[in-house]
Symmetry: C2
Subunit: 136 residues, 2 copies
DNA sequence: ATACTATTTGCAATTCTGTTGCAAGTGTTT
DNA sequence: AAACACTTGCAACAGAATTGCAAATAGTAT
């Protein structure tokens, strides 16, 4: 889907900043932090705008948070079926300890876990750390 | 094990600050952030001391990091067998979307995942989100 | 094409999180 | 009780993230 349609389908205006941020996400196949985005976009947009764009995208289900033990949060594009109502990102994430990049392992499903009674599960997140294909 | 023995067995001096921080961890059955600790202890110890105590405890295997999609890092007591050489915290964590607390599921092991060839795994982290026993 | 309105942006200021250097204080060992 | 290394508090700093507000812009209706 092209960038403008992604925005309008999620109820967001097609502004330069959002277009720019979304294009950066499309360009990389691993999760990006605010500072990654800032490095690419600081000439064009304000830091605060990038923060607000991230929030808007999270809110509308365009990106999701990638859990990671590093200090700063990282984000990646959702699969097409995500919306603000419902996320379908039930795959594992891999973080390379050498290059620091996090990628989505779209084909690795998070196995179903049986929890003690009384717990309701809504989402599972599996983060695997190690050395990635490129660094190995 | 009592607080003073935990400290000395992990090679740490038995100081007021460490005693105090460890007691707070014992008091709660969910993971605590620096700011949680600060709320309880700010009358007695400096912010920086709490940060340094967290680092010392992490280092010696008294607490482990609990990965969580919230902004700030959280920590919880390790099982007794952990040391600075070796952590044995291969359990899942549960984060309640209602109360926001994260707890250790000590009896739920993180499953072993087969990755595509080329990847080396060093550590796995499983975070399950939903509604906890108390909130349900 | 123009005008209107709600949304979005940039800037400045502020808050929160985490770290570092250093002098003073404390725990442990002898 | 003395000695030494470790620990603490303070002040300063660096980075991450949020907020209020005025100016700019997108989308819609005219």
């Amino acid at each position: 889907m092209d960038t403008e349609n992604i925005l309008s389908e999620h109820g967001l205006r097609n502004t330069e900043a959002r277009h720019g941020v979304l294009d950066v996400f499309k360009k990389y196949d691993y999760a990006l932090s605010h500072s990654d985005l800032e490095k690419e976009l600081q000439k064009y947009f304000d830091r605060v705008t990038i923060y607000r764009t991230i929030h808007a995208f999270l809110d509308k289900g365009i990106i999701h948070k990638v859990i990671d033990d590093s200090e700063s949060a990282k984000y990646a594009l959702c699969a097409d079926e995500c919306s603000s109502d419902r996320h379908h990102d039930n795959h594992a994430h891999f973080k390379c300890t050498k290059c620091g990049n996090s990628e989505c392992l779209n084909h690795v499903q998070v196995p179903n876990i049986n929890l003690p009674s009384g717990y309701l599960v809504s989402e599972s997140n599996l983060l695997i750390e190690g050395v990635c294909k490129s660094c190995n």
